[in-house]
């Protein structure tokens, strides 16, 4: 039997996505970098590189280093700033039939906002906002007061209890939480005896962090009512389905975009095949359906 009219739609607050697969901020440039390698129109939502008010040059090199089944980065939020983003990067999306989510600003073409309170690589802002529940709630409230767009708050795993931060952000009015940002890590060159990153420490991403991310997504989805977006080492459709079963309403693909620019397409196709095999008509019907017998 073939399941007809598979339904991949999911909702993040008031934002309807045609499928639950997004690109994670900082791993997909401003979208246009990938136009020759993937059909951008198929993506559930594109989250572009974090945009700050002023342009930021980022950290000194070396900024990336490969680790076992993962990588460390300390880019330091290099970006063109809000003015150049609006004048140079945003018009490109007029011709892309995908939801566009940006960090911290609103505009007619923008469908949602993801607030990064969890970057491990910048000195000011990110980390403190993301690790103290009251501050996380205050930032959320401040953003909500300025926009009608759905607000997603991106959480740091580098905390004692991520569910506490998630609840605080929910109380602050967030429409959704996305997790996890990178785990703070380090690598040393044993010949030069120097850290491999100029920033000394950086954010660990890739398949290596998937089990940690999956555990946190599961815990948070048990505690909050708002939709949870799963991030962390998702590279295949099997990974994506694990996160959906754990309680994520949608997922973001990050590091995999770097080594497999078609990863998002493969994952969307794979989820459809999985639903067929499981004879499930709507992706919403597998969200949170992990079976725990005890």
């Amino acid at each position: 039997m073939i399941v007809k009219d598979l339904d991949l739609n999911v909702k993040i607050g008031s934002l309807l996505l045609k499928n639950p697969v997004m690109t994670a901020s900082g791993t997909f440039g401003y979208g246009e970098e990938f136009e020759n390698l993937i059909d951008l129109n198929r993506i559930g939502a594109i989250i572009v590189k974090g945009i700050s008010y002023e342009p930021r040059p980022g950290n000194p090199p070396p900024r990336v280093v490969e680790t076992s089944s993962g990588m460390l980065n300390a880019i330091g939020l290099e970006n063109v700033g809000v003015e150049r983003f609006i004048s140079e990067k945003l018009p490109y999306f007029d011709h892309v039939d995908s939801r566009l989510i940006v960090n911290i600003l609103g505009d007619s073409r923008v469908d949602g906002i993801e607030v990064n309170i969890s970057c491990p690589n910048v000195k000011k802002g990110g980390v403190a906002f993301g690790t103290i529940p009251a501050m996380a709630a205050a930032v959320t409230r401040a953003v909500k007061a300025e926009t009608d767009q759905p607000v997603i708050v991106k959480l740091s795993p580098n905390v004692t209890d991520i569910t506490e931060i998630a609840c605080a952000v929910e109380d602050g009015g967030a429409d959704s939480v996305s997790l996890i940002n990178t785990l703070i890590g380090m690598a040393i060159d044993i010949k030069s005896k120097q850290p491999k990153l100029a920033n000394i420490i950086g954010g660990l991403s890739g398949p290596a962090i998937k089990p940690v991310a999956l555990r946190m997504v599961h815990q948070v989805s048990q505690r909050v009512k708002i939709p949870v977006i799963g991030i962390g080492g998702i590279a295949t459709y099997e990974d994506a389905v694990e996160f959906l079963l754990a309680g994520a309403s949608a997922i973001q693909v990050g590091t995999a975009n770097f080594y497999q620019p078609k990863a998002v397409e493969y994952i969307i196709d794979g989820i459809s095949r999985y639903l067929q095999e499981e004879k499930v008509q709507a992706v919403n019907d597998i969200i949170g359906k992990v079976q725990i017998n005890r």
Binding site: T27, L37, G70
Partner: protein
């Protein structure tokens, strides 16, 4: 610029020396459009470890849709690449980056050191085809020893160019650095192209800047994507602003880069 992603069949993978290899891949779309100085990102295995693609300069392309990669085993990625057999396939994205600017007229010098000889060979081939009668092209090649250099020389000998060689250990050609061989050539050329270890490129770049000779250098850095998305492959531009090797380069004019003091 359009880049392609191809599942490329391995046509040949042969060793030139104990740790230097030439890999021939069937990549028709990349072969058709690649320019000297451009690079490809190769996924050396389908496994999660090693995770990232590796960047390689294009050494040559064939009219039958093949690209050739010259590489030395320096780590796990290149070791895996060296174990490929004909019939295997690897995923390749390219051609990436900007490539050298070809000036078919005037006199030019091409300088390649170590694995930096790869794009210099592709460039020499293209320049040899475009060569005007009055132009003189000079090639200077360097390597650690003759074992590494001699197997690459034959291919250059086909070209109508003067070739000088230097080795660190003196086992072939001049005992010393390519930069020493450049000094007598520099007054007679209007353009220098260089690829090799950063220290070597810096000396070449500084000599050219002193004598007002145009110089194009091809930089190498760690990079995660090669597409301008990860922003990992940063170097400092001459104006102090960061530039990205994958998108703004890998070829830069010598005066566009802030060379380390």
């Amino acid at each position: 610029m359009t880049e392609f992603q191809e599942n490329s069949k391995v046509i040949d993978c042969r060793s030139l020396t104990r740790d230097v290899y030439i890999l021939t891949l069937s990549s028709p779309q990349i072969a058709q459009t690649a320019l000297p100085g451009q690079f490809v990102m190769i996924r050396v295995s389908d496994m999660d470890d090693p995770l990232l693609r590796r960047p390689f300069s294009i050494y040559d392309v064939s009219t039958s849709g093949e690209i050739l990669i010259l590489f030395k085993i320096v780590g796990r990625g290149t070791r895996l690449l060296s174990t490929l057999d004909p019939g295997d396939s690897v995923n390749v994205i390219g051609p990436l980056g900007n490539g050298y600017t070809l000036h078919p007229s005037g006199n030019a010098c091409l300088v390649g050191g170590g694995m930096g000889i790869a794009p210099i060979y592709f460039l020499a081939k293209k320049m040899n085809m475009a060569k005007r009668e009055k132009s003189n092209f000079h090639v200077i090649l360097g390597a650690r020893s003759g074992d590494e250099l001699v197997p690459l020389l034959d291919a250059f000998n086909k070209f109508d160019m003067q070739i000088d060689c230097a080795t660190d250990d003196g086992s072939f050609g001049h005992h010393g650095f390519v930069t020493q061989l450049l000094d007598p050539v520099l007054p007679n050329v209007s353009q220098v192209y260089v690829c090799g270890p950063t220290a070597m490129m810096q000396i070449v770049a500084e000599k050219c800047l002193e004598q007002n000779v145009c110089c194009e250098t091809s930089l190498e850095t760690h990079m995660a994507c090669g597409l301008g998305a990860c922003l990992g492959c940063t170097v400092s531009g001459a104006d102090g602003q960061y530039v990205h090797v994958c998108k703004h380069g890998p070829v830069f004019k010598a005066d566009e880069i802030k060379w380390e003091k």
